[in-house]
């Protein structure tokens, strides 16, 4: 079964090409950022403890930035390529799989939070234990202020809430009605 959805606007070929290049490069960008970030954290010495030598939080501007990025993510949806997608049975299954996996991974993160809150030991030979995600995030914000002045914190909050605004408040309507 094939059905056109979305918009009847003509396709902007330049925007469409840029969109495709962005998609093809994005997995490499994710790996290029994620792998070095993990290695840096694991190899880093001197930040084992959250000593909080300065009081960087609370920071209302970071919260306002998240709100602004959320609205930006919504209104950037005005800029579309005009591409008409096709919906097939396979694409429906694929889409469901993507959404289920996204929520499953989110659930796993919350399980990590639960383990941290429950103060689960990391190893059997040491008294070290996992902490709630909040602990690591706030610790990371503190370290980021020391290292870059909070640049990475700003980037992460902007990106996260831009995506949230784009995904959960899309600037369009369901052109062909609800789908299963």
């Amino acid at each position: 079964m094939t059905a056109p959805i979305k918009t009847a606007r003509p396709v902007n070929k330049t925007a469409r090409a840029a969109y495709r290049v962005f998609h093809l490069l994005s997995p490499f960008v994710v790996l290029a950022v994620g792998i070095p970030a993990v290695l840096l954290v694991l190899l880093q010495k001197g930040h084992e403890f959250c000593t909080y030598t300065a009081e960087y939080l609370p920071d209302l501007l970071l919260f306002v930035l998240g709100g602004a990025a959320f609205f930006a993510g919504h209104f950037v949806g005005i800029l579309g390529t005009g591409q008409v997608n096709t919906i097939t049975d396979a694409s429906k299954k694929f889409g469901r799989l993507a959404i289920v996996t996204a929520f499953l991974v989110t659930s796993l993160i919350l399980v990590f939070e639960a383990l941290g809150t429950a103060e689960i030991a990391v190893g059997t030979t040491t008294p070290s234990q996992l902490e709630p995600i909040t602990y690591y995030v706030r610790c990371a914000i503190d370290h980021d202020h020391d290292i870059s002045g909070g640049l990475f914190t700003i980037m992460l909050i902007t990106l996260t809430f831009y995506v949230a605004g784009n995904w959960f408040w899309p600037h369009r309507t369901l052109a062909d009605g609800p789908q299963s």
Partner: protein, 93 residues
């Protein structure tokens, strides 16, 4: 709380970054497949889900902002901060 108990920053933060990297890698790979096949991308799929389930989407967005507020609108130092060996006040040691 002893310093040894707090000594999990590296493994904990690495786990958080791995989780975020995995999610973004998964989404970007799915987007590549969808783009090449002219299928709706993950953004399209989740956007459609949000339009079909507006209240769930609102709750999810609300949860995100609550988390952000929790992270950035609380002071770093709690009322009692056992951050360094010997930093506890005498009545808490």
């Amino acid at each position: 709380m002893t310093p040894a108990i707090l000594d999990t920053y590296s493994v904990g933060m690495a786990s958080v970054i791995w989780a975020i990297t995995f999610i973004r890698l998964f989404v970007s790979l799915v987007d590549v497949v969808c783009d090449l096949r002219d299928w709706p991308t993950v953004s399209d799929q989740i956007g459609d889900w949000s339009l079909r389930n507006p209240w769930l989407a609102r709750v999810l967005v609300g949860l995100l902002f609550v988390l952000l507020a929790h992270f950035v609108l609380n002071p770093l130092h709690p009322a009692i901060c056992p951050c360094l060996p010997g930093s506890l006040p005498p009545d808490h040691q």
